[in-house]
């Protein structure tokens, strides 16, 4: 179409489009320079670390780099029978290098994760190599096989071959309680060891219910805030925001004081005779504690978007609904409620996404049955130092959030979100 339309020229004979671009170029550069610091900041603090996390989570180059010759020879191996003399020899020379660099221990540990029993046989092989017991002029295969009978077992060689690719999805599989079985197929771990799946489900469950509770409590508050006269609504707004300005840690700690068995809430229950003194319910170090504390902490994130949307709804709409014959409920349900959906969407999305990655509150008041996936990630970062697994779980969490966002976009439309 555009090629057929006659080109418009300026009075100087320059095509209008070119002239327009020239005129706007300066503005574009200015605009870009204005956002450049932010862009740089985002790249450094966000894009780059996520990339780093991703590469760490799939990284499996350690053995690939330790046994270069072995894997080269193994390319020709069919993986069914015991490998050939060349593979054994290549492995022996790789191992010798590792012994010189004193890295054989790491190899044993890493291979032991792949298949139990590697640690001891690499140690045995190390002693033989150190004492120079292996004669390089005759068949290395025979000599290595004599070190330990497991070196004669093809399953161990298959395990080594599995570690050949420099990248692995095994950390991700571990995150959903699965692993590569000996034959390379993806298998579930034993039922009594499936801890991660429970954590994922619990995280989703807690996030869902916290969102629900926040909505049920936040909606009336937001409505009140939006309709009350200014002097009252300001006071109420401060009440909503005050916890927002208090440190998260302080708020969580105060919940610990309130909820513990000898705490304020329990004392009150005993006082009004709801529970007996020797039968105080546990409200902390379980899900109840997590629900209560997280709902309170995340409530402002629900109230604020709802409030900003409700503020824009003219009170005359409800009046119109009533004057046209709708009962107050019909006027609310057919007129007011549909108009608040953008706020509900924004609030729920915000609370749900924050709840799904919540860490400090469940860690402090959650106990064993109230911890979430983020606590597991922290555990692997700080205790087991399995950073690649922590990265994998973090990325799974991130992609989960993106999926939720995508579903939300399909259902409600992100354009409809109003954050204020």
């Amino acid at each position: 179409m555009s090629s057929e339309t006659k080109q418009i020229l300026t009075t100087d004979g320059i095509p209008l489009e070119v002239s327009l671009k020239k005129a706007e170029k300066k503005n574009k550069i200015k605009a870009f320079l204005l956002v450049a610091p932010l862009l740089l900041f985002l790249i450094i603090t966000y894009v780059f670390p996520i990339g780093e996390m991703f590469s760490r989570s799939i990284d499996d180059k350690m053995i690939t780099n330790m046994l270069p010759k072995t894997f080269k020879e193994m390319e020709k191996w069919d993986g069914q029978e015991l490998p050939s003399e060349e593979v054994f020899a290549a492995f022996y020379y790789d191992f010798k290098v590792l012994v010189e660099k004193q890295e054989h221990g790491k190899l044993g540990q890493r291979l032991n994760k792949e298949k139990n029993g590697f640690n001891s046989i690499t140690k045995k092989l190390f002693r033989q190599v150190k004492r120079k017991k292996i004669d390089e002029t005759i068949s290395i295969k025979e000599q290595v096989m004599r070190v330990h009978k497991r070196w004669r077992n093809v399953e161990y060689w298959q395990a080594i071959k599995r570690t050949a690719p420099p990248y692995t999805m095994s950390k991700y599989l571990k995150g959903i309680d699965m692993y590569y079985a000996a034959d390379g197929s993806i298998t579930q771990v034993d039922e009594d060891r499936r801890i991660h799946r429970i954590l994922w489900l619990r995280t989703l469950e807690i996030a869902f219910f916290v969102t629900l509770f926040c909505f049920l409590m936040g909606y009336p508050i937001a409505h009140l805030l939006a309709t009350l006269p200014m002097k009252y609504s300001n006071l109420l707004m401060i009440c909503v925001l005050l916890p927002f300005w208090t440190s998260l840690l302080v708020r969580t700690a105060s919940w610990m004081i309130l909820l513990q068995q000898q705490g304020v809430v329990n004392d009150f229950f005993v006082m009004i005779g709801l529970v007996s003194d020797d039968n105080r319910p546990e409200m902390m170090y379980n899900k109840v504690g997590t629900y209560v504390a997280m709902t309170q902490i995340l409530l402002p994130f629900m109230v604020l978007p709802l409030y900003s949307v409700m503020k824009t709804i003219s009170p005359s709409l409800m009046r119109a609904g009533k004057s046209l014959g709708g009962t107050p409920f019909v006027a609310f349900w057919k007129v007011y409620f549909p108009l608040t959906i953008p706020g509900i969407g924004a609030g729920c999305l915000l609370v749900f996404i924050l709840a799904i990655g919540y860490y400090i509150t469940p860690a402090l008041v959650g106990g064993a049955s109230g911890t979430l996936i983020s606590n597991q990630i922290a555990f692997h970062m700080k205790q087991t130092l399995d950073w690649s697994f922590a990265s994998a779980m973090g990325l799974m969490l991130l992609s989960g959030v993106l999926v939720i966002y995508w579903i939300y976009n399909k259902l409600v439309g992100v354009d409809n979100i109003k954050l204020g």
């Binding site: 009046r319 046209l324 709708g326 009962t327």
Partner: protein
């Protein structure tokens, strides 16, 4: 069909929001069935409060409101069956035009076919047929206003209230909508209570106008009477233009009185003054004073032209007359126009019957 002259009745209604100030004071107002009545007044005069009390969004502090003989003070708005057009239209932004119009019918559980028919009729009444599937945001201000009018009428209410419905429209559109609403009212005969602060709108549309000020009805009468015969100086000032003279009554007869101004005396028509010595404000419409009158008039003075402003269909002349430099004359622009120049001295005359001696300002 006999019309009920007290179809809507405000009976000694008081309204106060804070317990200190009365926004509406002892309101007594009867509205006949099928009448178009306008509540006119400056902002804060209590007219919108009256409308809200009638609609049911505010409750009277004292007194009763009756609709067709029934007390409605305790009936919630949705059961009153009163249609309302709001200042900002209050169309439901998430519903199409059709759904907006169908809303009052659906909540009344009207059959689907019947709804279609009524919506169709209402839309054609405001000449918006074919706009059913549009969203309110896709309509212009005038179209939105018409949808709001159609929605308030679609369920055949006995009374329709309109709260400054044309305030947000531009001048031309506002004028054409005035006629349109007037014609709709004439064709379906519904009782309309209309609130505005725009006097020309009130004069154009209404059967009767209630002028509000300070929580009270100052005058309730038809447009012509309101303009020609204001009963007090607020109404005279508020409706149309008006030249005023402040003075003291020095002589009074049945239909004439002599008012002493600062340095002269004029003859006026005694409306609110009863006896000698009373202070008064004399009100005279600008078009009732003539330049070089040929007929005999009982007030004849000469003044000096201070300013001449051309207004298209007429020319406004500001004179220095009887010690006031704010005397306004309206001269129609006809072919036999006079030469009017600043600083020219001219003779002005008016009849004492047109100069109304009202309460002092």
């Amino acid at each position: 069909m006999s019309k009920n002259p007290e179809f809507v009745k405000f009976d000694k209604v008081d309204k106060s929001y804070d317990g200190k100030v009365l926004v509406v004071k002892d309101l007594q107002l009867d509205i006949a069935e099928g009448e178009f009545i306008t509540m006119l007044g400056p902002s804060g005069s209590g007219k919108t409060t009256c409308l809200m009390m009638l609609a049911g969004f505010e409750t009277p502090t004292h007194g009763e409101i009756l609709l067709d003989g029934n007390i409605i003070s305790n009936i919630p708005p949705h059961k009153r069956g009163i249609g309302m057009v709001f200042q900002n239209y209050a169309l439901f932004p998430h519903m199409t035009v059709y759904e907006n119009l169908a809303f009052p019918l659906r909540v009344r559980k009207v059959e689907k076919d019947e709804i279609d028919k009524k919506v169709d009729k209402a839309l054609s009444m405001v000449s918006l047929s074919g706009f059913e599937t549009r969203m309110p945001a896709q309509l212009s201000g005038g179209q939105q206003q018409r949808v709001a009018v159609a929605r308030a009428l679609v369920f055949d209410p006995a009374v329709v209230l309109m709260d400054e419905p044309l305030g947000a429209l531009d001048k031309n559109l506002r004028e054409s909508m005035q006629y349109e609403i007037k014609h709709i009212h004439e064709s379906i005969g519904v009782t309309v209570v209309y609130v505005t602060h725009d006097q020309s709108e009130a004069l154009t549309m209404s059967n009767r106008i209630a002028v509000f000020n300070d929580g009270k009805v100052q005058q309730l009468s038809n447009p012509a009477e309101l303009y020609e015969k204001p009963v007090n100086s607020f109404v005279a000032e508020f409706i149309g233009e008006n030249n005023t003279f402040n003075g003291e009554v020095v002589d009074i007869a049945k239909d004439k009185c002599k008012v002493k101004l600062a340095n002269s005396e004029i003859l006026a028509n005694p409306i609110s003054v009863k006896s000698k010595g009373e202070k008064t404000t004399v009100s005279l419409r600008p078009e009732r004073a003539l330049i070089n009158p040929t007929d005999k008039m009982d007030n004849m003075f000469s003044g000096k032209i201070e300013e001449v402003i051309y207004h298209g269909d007429h020319t406004r002349v500001r004179l220095n007359l009887l010690g006031s430099s704010e005397f306004i004359l309206k001269v129609p622009n006809s072919t036999s126009n006079l030469e009017l120049k600043v600083n020219q001295d001219i003779n002005i005359g008016w009849n004492s019957i047109d100069a109304r001696a009202l309460d002092p300002k």
